[in-house]
């Protein structure tokens, strides 16, 4: 095999969404450059070893990992705490989606009680309400006249400022959004969200499995 394929192999592993096997790599190379290209599984393995050797020499903080189904890139453990910090920021963003939804319901339905809110979202709102109150995006405006006289929640001026609105009636009307976003689009969106959830779960499962395999690998070494 020519060394020129090192770079192709590197790029293929880098951009592949799933771990890529040497057979797949060979299939791609032959697909583009012709069936008569002479390249074997072993040669792909050697290429990967060469790549990793170069990364090591250069003190590069990632390398190609071999797992059951193929090759993939991963960062080395040295910087794990920094990456963990970054990904925890990301999970905060996910949590923020719940906060955003809560905030949206309050914005459109205000004044609203906690039971009403929880009824719409279908989950307990205590924690998120406390954070939104603390961030001064919502405030308690009084009590409802209904049984138990639950507290009423409203958005604040801070909220308006955050979203660049002059007054609360400047919010796009759900009607307007409906006009813009066709119903099918929303269905599609919904499906996407559900798919995302499923994928995330799959990813989690995969991670766990990979972790286990990693553990096994290291014990058998």
């Amino acid at each position: 095999m020519d060394n020129i394929y090192n770079s192709v192999i590197e790029a293929l592993i880098f951009s592949s969404d799933d771990p890529i096997s040497s057979q797949e790599i060979i299939r791609v190379i032959k697909g583009i450059d012709g069936e008569d290209i002479d390249i074997s599984n072993d040669e792909v393995e050697i290429a990967v070893d060469e790549l990793n050797k170069r990364y090591d020499e250069q003190g590069i903080s990632f390398s190609v990992q071999k797992i059951a189904h193929g090759f993939l890139f991963a960062t080395k453990p040295e910087n794990a705490k920094y990456i963990g910090y970054l990904s925890s920021e990301k999970s905060k963003r996910r949590l923020s989606q719940a906060a955003l939804e809560t905030l949206a319901i309050i914005a459109y339905k205000q004044p609203i009680t906690k039971p009403e809110l929880e009824n719409i979202r279908g989950v307990n709102a205590d924690y998120i309400l406390s954070v939104l109150l603390e961030k001064n995006l919502v405030t308690i405006s009084g009590r409802a006249e209904t049984v138990g006289r639950p507290l009423l929640y409203n958005t604040t001026d801070e909220f308006l400022k955050y979203f660049g609105l002059h007054k609360i009636t400047d919010l796009p009307k759900p009607r307007e959004i409906e006009d813009i976003m066709k119903d099918e689009d929303f269905l599609e969106q919904r499906q996407k969200i559900m798919m995302n959830a499923i994928e995330e779960q799959a990813q989690l499962d995969f991670d766990k499995e990979a972790e286990n395999q990693g553990d096994n690998a290291s014990t058998t070494e």
Binding site: S15, I120, F186
Partner: protein, 239 residues
């Protein structure tokens, strides 16, 4: 009639630009009468083909005819006493549109270049150590996101309820025993903790009935928990 690929035009302005380009017309001196004629032919063609694009084109057709009429009348005069060309607004609109049409071509080149580029595909094995810390971060959130979130919330992402009827073989007596067993090992049991792992609503209901039974008999007592959302079970006088 010229052969014109219908789907090639993004709107009436695009079509007018095409006529101007094709016939090498001076955009500042558009022969309105001729171009109106061509435009109307095109609109008729669309109609004949029964295509549902006509609205914007018909509007432009009427604008063109209006300009055509005004060309025949004595020119209006602006504040400075200069004649107003009835075509001025149209010319300005054509130039403005042309400007952005060009930019859309630039964007198209960027798009082509970007299609040759791939980002990293798989992130599953990156090692990370996560600090256990949670806070809410509203970043890059616009009111569109907010409205979308609202729509999402009220349209209910809750999956459609599936009514699967499973017979649950559980009795109040069994749950009484379960609670008593718990209280043998722990002095206090929080109700929410007690039902935490119960998947079926009915099981929770039966547990609740069971503890009412126990309370009635004075076998256990209950008190409100500190956060008022829960309550605590303890052995009672008769327990």
């Amino acid at each position: 009639m010229y052969k014109i690929k219908l789907d090639k035009f993004e709107g009436p302005l695009d079509l007018l630009l095409f006529f101007i380009r094709r016939d090498e017309l001076d955009i500042y001196d558009i022969p309105i009468s001729r171009i109106t004629g061509e435009f109307l032919e095109y609109v008729n063609l669309i109609k004949e083909l029964d295509l549902e694009v006509a609205g914007d084109f018909i509007l432009m057709a009427s604008t063109l005819m209006h300009i055509k009429v005004r060309m025949l009348l004595p020119r209006e005069i602006d504040e400075k006493g200069e004649e107003i060309d009835p075509r001025a607004d149209l010319i300005a609109a054509l130039l403005e549109y042309k400007k952005y049409k060009e930019m859309s071509e630039e964007l198209s080149f960027f798009e082509s270049a970007q299609r040759k580029v791939s980002y990293r595909g798989n992130f599953s094995l990156d090692e990370k150590v996560s600090p256990p810390e949670y806070d809410i971060l509203l970043k890059n959130v616009t009111i569109f996101d907010l409205t979308k979130a609202f729509k999402k919330a009220i349209e209910g992402l809750k999956p459609q309820p599936v009514h699967q009827i499973n017979k649950i073989n559980i009795t109040i007596d069994e749950m009484i025993q379960y609670i008593l067993d718990k209280l043998d090992t722990e002095i206090e049991v929080h109700f929410l903790k007690l039902v935490e792992n119960m998947k079926e609503k009915i099981r929770i209901v039966i547990t609740f009935v069971a503890l009412l039974e126990l309370t009635k008999g004075g076998i256990i007592t209950i008190r409100e928990s500190n956060d008022f959302n829960d309550f605590v079970l303890m052995k009672g006088a008769n327990g």
